[in-house]
Symmetry: C2
Subunit: 781 residues, 2 copies
């Protein structure tokens, strides 16, 4: 089995997908309720699929252009094979497929949850969480399956043993990066487009429906109400799913690239071997991901409540119990896998410290750091955005003096929330690197992402419950049904906030792992911001998330205005619409949101993809590294700021529903303070649902594009090793620039002799011949 280890993640992924199908057919077998409920659910489903279909058309054009570009790259760069195009296309299709499965089951599960809630709350939870589980397993299963199959294929194609293992494997992993790029491209469409869609529909429906016409939310007379419910699915289900699919794939890929780097460092004295065909460190992250799927399945069985008397607390505990169970199972399994698959001692090169021996347990500790930091950042996010906690109460208090003070307080809360999150994140980088180098950082991210299936099941359960409440309202069911779905919905709001924290943390760690992989791909020594071009690009990179956020926010405004005009038109032109005798043209509103979302995401999307390419080509690998770092630093900050400010404003507004005490007086909905809070919430809407979450995609995609074009940018690099008894020697040559007849080369010679290590870096400048002669001289010495 050891030599066929790659089959393990494949089998685990297939098991996950089989379980997904079982769960899916179970959900579909549930009763979907009466005709009215079915018809509403059907409208939402059709709207959601209409968005997906429109998205696919745009995607198709994008995929063709990107494929051509990738093909051209593969023809220019020696180490990039054209199969990267196939990997890219399949990556895109798998991600789209996962989103499609999730969206279908989510829109199937809503009415069935409502129907179940008529008789039993435990059953309602089972149905809605079952829908989430299908989504989670679809994403995780397809991700691991796609990565493993392509890895198996590319290893058989490129790692022939004819040349240097490290270099052959690099070619294979470079091709695999195409799969990740495909997946992340879909995430761009789903997350950014979905974010614009959901807020355009929401704001449009509210402005005309609630404010102008004075009808309640989810009222069937509002033409935009279906679009609004579709938006919940498009943004929170498909968008979040694609985001995590992208993070999941990219993290595992980065860990594999860095595993290959470990193998290279361990091959200085003699070629690396182990029982796993000499690729244990590369396979480990894939196997951990596979085990995470099974751990998630076990976790889902533990999500249960006893009877109809359960409240929010019990539901939350049930979810938490399942979540922690899957995390602990994964962690325990990781301990054994690391012991089994890695050599007892790893050799890793650390900057400025040379090659250091690292016990394999340190890799496990890095995984623990990843899981701990993921959980802690989620907790910080929950603290800053939860009802009844200090930050939200602070905003509530500041609502009494008007909208302006409410806004200032909300902005300040969002800004302050960056403190702990960033400190935790910096500690994660520092700690996992100190333990096991960048391989440790990547495995910290992998461990955090291993239970993605469970995380996503919990995330997707929220919007299903939300929609179930909408179906109950629109079908005018009995009070107790809505009460039960409200319990689930309320828990869903909390899990949504925590899920957003998890998504940011995972995106940030993923970007970091990709960043580390980037440096190894380009073969540069590092990224020195004391070089002016690198520093300049660090600033440019820092500006991109700000511009991206501005564009996303303005897009929501524009799209919402179109929706407002359409709803006003329908109210005026369709006879009997307000009396409930005329039927609004729901499809038209869905269509407007769809078109606007896809149109508006083109510019930010292009900025994300094209800017790194331009910078890389014009300035080279190191300035592009500076750019990537700038995007990550600024992007993480703006993601946390916007998500948490938006979340806090939302719950500050919700606080007024139950009533809050301001200056000793109980204040409720309809008060001036509440109106101020509504203003804050409206500002926060695009923050938390459009521009904020888009930052995740921006930072990951930037690093992925960098990784894919990395081979074009790096100066040719070759390695030469030699072993003679006790003395080992390695020479690496990097040709920096060739201009006409002159060249510059950096020659690194590392000699280990009697335990004393000496490395010499010689920089030679002169004619091409002189430089070549010098390189030969160094090798002979």
């Amino acid at each position: 089995m050891k030599s066929n280890m790659i089959l393990v993640p494949i089998i685990l992924a297939v098991l996950g997908l089989i379980f997904m199908f079982i769960k899916m057919s179970w959900v579909k077998k549930q009763d979907a309720g009466d005709e009215k409920m079915k018809s509403i659910s059907k409208s939402i489903k059709e709207g959601a699929l209409a968005f997906l279909n429109a998205e696919y058309k745009l995607l198709f054009i994008f995929a063709i252009i990107a494929s051509v570009a990738l093909f051209i790259i593969s023809q220019i760069v020696e180490t990039t094979h054209w199969v990267i195009v196939i990997a890219f296309i399949i990556g895109a299709i798998f991600s789209a497929l996962a989103g499609n499965i999730g969206m279908r089951i989510a829109t199937d599960a809503n009415a069935r949850t409502t129907e179940a809630a008529k008789t039993s709350l435990p059953k309602a939870l089972q149905v809605s969480f079952g829908g989430g589980t299908v989504m989670g397993l679809g994403v995780a299963g397809l991700a691991v399956l796609g990565l493993s199959l392509f890895f198996m294929l590319f290893v058989s194609m490129f790692v022939t043993g004819a040349g240097n293992f490290y270099e052959e494997m690099t070619v294979a992993l470079e091709a695999l990066a195409g799969f990740s790029l495909g997946a992340e491209s879909i995430a761009l469409f789903a997350r950014v487009g979905g974010g614009i869609y959901t807020k355009a529909a929401d704001v449009g429906a509210d402005l005309v429906g609630k404010v102008e016409a004075g009808i309640p939310e989810d009222d069937p007379r509002n033409p935009a109400t279906i679009a609004d419910n579709v938006g919940d699915n498009v943004g929170d289900v498909a968008g979040m799913g694609a985001d995590l699919f992208g993070s999941y794939v990219a993290t595992v890929l980065a860990a594999m690239v860095l595993g290959n780097y470990v193998i290279r460092d361990m091959s200085i004295t003699s070629p690396f071997t182990d029982d796993f065909n000499g690729m244990g460190p590369i396979l480990l992250p894939l196997v951990i991901a596979g085990v995470g799927i099974i751990a998630s399945i076990i976790g889902t069985f533990l999500v249960k409540i006893k009877d109809n008397t359960a409240k929010e607390k019990e539901v939350q505990q049930a979810l938490d119990f399942g979540n922690w169970a899957s995390i602990i199972i994964t962690l325990v399994a990781s301990w054994f896998l690391i012991q089994w698959m890695l050599p007892e001692t790893l050799l890793m090169s650390f900057f400025g410290e040379g090659i250091i021996e690292v016990p394999s347990q340190h890799v496990f500790y890095a995984c623990v750091i990843g899981l701990a930091v993921g959980a802690l950042i989620s907790t910080v996010t929950a603290y800053y955005t939860s009802l009844g906690k200090k930050p939200v109460l602070h905003i509530v208090q500041n609502s009494s003096t008007g909208a302006a003070t409410n806004i200032i307080a909300g902005l300040a809360v969002g800004m302050k929330s960056t403190f702990l999150s960033v400190i935790l994140f910096a500690a994660a980088i520092f700690g996992s690197y100190a333990l096991a180098g960048f391989y440790g950082v990547a495995l910290a991210a992998s461990a955090m992402m291993a239970t993605t299936a469970m995380q996503l099941a919990i995330d997707a359960f929220g919007p299903i419950a939300d929609n179930a409440g909408g179906v109950a309202e629109m079908s005018e069911l009995e009070e107790h049904v809505r009460e039960r779905t409200d319990i689930l919905d309320s828990v869903g709001n909390t899990t949504a906030a925590v899920g957003k924290g998890f998504a940011i943390a995972s995106a940030a760690l993923t970007a970091l792992a990709l960043f580390a992989a980037y440096v190894t791909f380009t073969g540069i020594d590092g990224i020195n911001i004391f070089k002016a071009d690198v520093l300049a690009m660090l600033f440019v990179g820092g500006m991109i998330p700000v511009i991206f956020s501005a564009l996303a926010m303005e897009s929501v405004g524009k799209a919402a205005m179109e929706m407002v005009h359409e709803v006003r038109r329908q109210f005026k032109e369709i006879p009997g619409i307000m009396e409930g005798t005329g039927t609004p043209d729901y499809a038209k509103c869905v269509d407007i949101s769809t078109k606007a979302a896809l149109r508006e995401m083109i510019l930010p999307g292009l900025i994300t993809i094209i800017t790194p390419v331009i910078i890389g080509v014009l300035f080279g690998a190191e300035p592009l590294g500076g750019y990537m770092a700038g995007v990550c630093v600024s992007g993480v900050m703006w993601a946390i700021f916007q998500n948490n400010a938006g979340g806090a404003w939302d719950n500050a507004k919700k606080s007024f529903e139950a009533g809050v005490e301001i200056n000793g007086e109980m204040t409720y909905k309809g008060s001036d303070a509440h109106k101020a809070a509504v203003t804050g919430d409206t500002v926060g809407d695009p923050f938390k649902d459009t521009s904020g979450p888009s930052m995740n995609i921006l930072i990951k995609l930037t690093c992925l594009v960098g990784l894919v074009i990395a081979p074009i940018l790096g100066g040719g690099h070759s390695a030469f090793s030699e072993e003679t008894g006790e003395v080992s020697k390695e020479i690496r040559v990097e040709v920096k620039a060739k201009e006409g007849d002159t060249a510059t080369a950096t020659i690194t010679t590392t000699v280990v002799k009697d335990g004393k290590k000496e490395s010499e870096v010689t920089k030679v400048e002169g004619t091409v011949e002189e430089v070549e002669k010098e390189i030969e001289k160094q090798k002979e010495q």
Copy 2:
């Protein structure tokens, strides 16, 4: 004269100060109007001085603590002499003195401007601009005088010729950094404290006066009205002055440090000599600054309008004419100075490219870039914040749908304004570095700052005119007086926006120059963000400006609330106050603002100063460099975002005064759209006057603290050079870590032979003896 070149900037600075005294006595000789005007002006002056006095007390405590800390550093670090403490104290005193002079003259000039406006608009401009000129010359004169005198002293103390020139000069410049640190510390108090003061008074006065009691702005019945007018002086005059004083000193200092670095690079083959005692590149920035003072004086003579028929346009043109004249004079003078003071060809070491020959004209072109980028960034700022331009009109349009859309539009405008500013800034880094290395970057900044006296004269003129209008209103003078002061005030609003752009651009370039100087001081090879600890600190640095802004914003809220309670109390308890028979207790309000401002600035101030020290001590020089870069990148972004969003909201609100067309309808003050715009303006107030401008201080002070503690952090570094005929050789040794019996050393050997340059970096690890033997071996080779 050439060998006494240091006397030139001293003479020029003294000339500037003499002219300042002449101008000051001229302003004071003007008629200050009737008793009522005099009494109002006196109240404002007393309030402003009360703030300064309270500030001095806090400053005194701070200076003692900082002096002790600096003294301890000077005892630990061999290359830091205890005279740095003296330089620090005098730097603080000079900056405080400049602020004091500016504040006194500004509060003297307001009533005199009002009085002059009774008869003549040209005279009113002359008086108000005269006040500004005094401020500008005070700042520039004291800055150049202090720097030059200390430089002369330190050179005579440390540059004895006994040792290596570069190292002796480094000790002198390290001591000089104390002067800059002292100046920037005052800026922290003046800018951040002043920013909190001005907005607390403004918001407090408006909330109770305008909104609750319904009395107009500047109404003498409002107890907070004096505090409000004091705030204009504290924030816009003293704050801006201290900010620019700090930038000015720091820029020149950084350019001097980098000039010394050039001298080192030029000494590889043979010791550097020139007619200026071998320190032409170090003296050049000081001389350019001195010449800039004279150019500014000439410029001030050109600011004139013809008669009372002049409108905003003519006043603006007069200011622009004077400004451009001083810039062009400085530029032309720089051309000759560079030709004269620098060798025809400079040698500079560029990363990865070795030592390159740079013609001295390239330094001039770098100066041109600095001036051009300064002007362009100011233009971009003006575009995004000016009445009648697209961005402000966009916010106006979005005010019709309520406060929320107004806020979203304003945030988006602020965010989008970062694009061009950052591109320009990146281009400045890239271009000036490509031309003349980091010396070029520092001289670009120096050139931009050379006309600080003129810039500040224009900046300080605005608040004087604003106050003059306030005096006219409170003294109930004839309509035409207020009309004339309004013309000046309106121009002042535009120059304020441009001035803020200039302040950001200068702070950013200053920080960059300091950052470059930092690397040379620590003796590290560069700042590699591919090292995990450096990357982690880049993230932590990126978070600091966000937290700082949040704290500053919340401080304004807290301080304003205290003011509201006090004003309410006075309205209730002082009999006859609303009828104009009782006198409000103005002093109490001034006192509240003062205390609140100073109390609230302590936490952000401590964060700014202590964080880099902690990071430097715990993690070392390179991670601290990462932190500094993070603060700069994020700080520049948040400065531009907050300043421009705030400025745009302000003018969006002002647009309603003359009336604006929204959806085809003319809309005026009092409309719902206007109310929404007022909300936006209130949010923007702390943005543009407190947290935004504070970013300038944060980024500069962070880099300065880094520079001052740099010698503690750098591994001991020593240089060894040898010259034998055609072959030149230089060896630099850096001992990175010594632990018990083992050591690590990096030995850089550069050999230039037959035009072919070879540099070898050897890293040796082993016992201390082995390492020492290796170093000797390298020297002998």
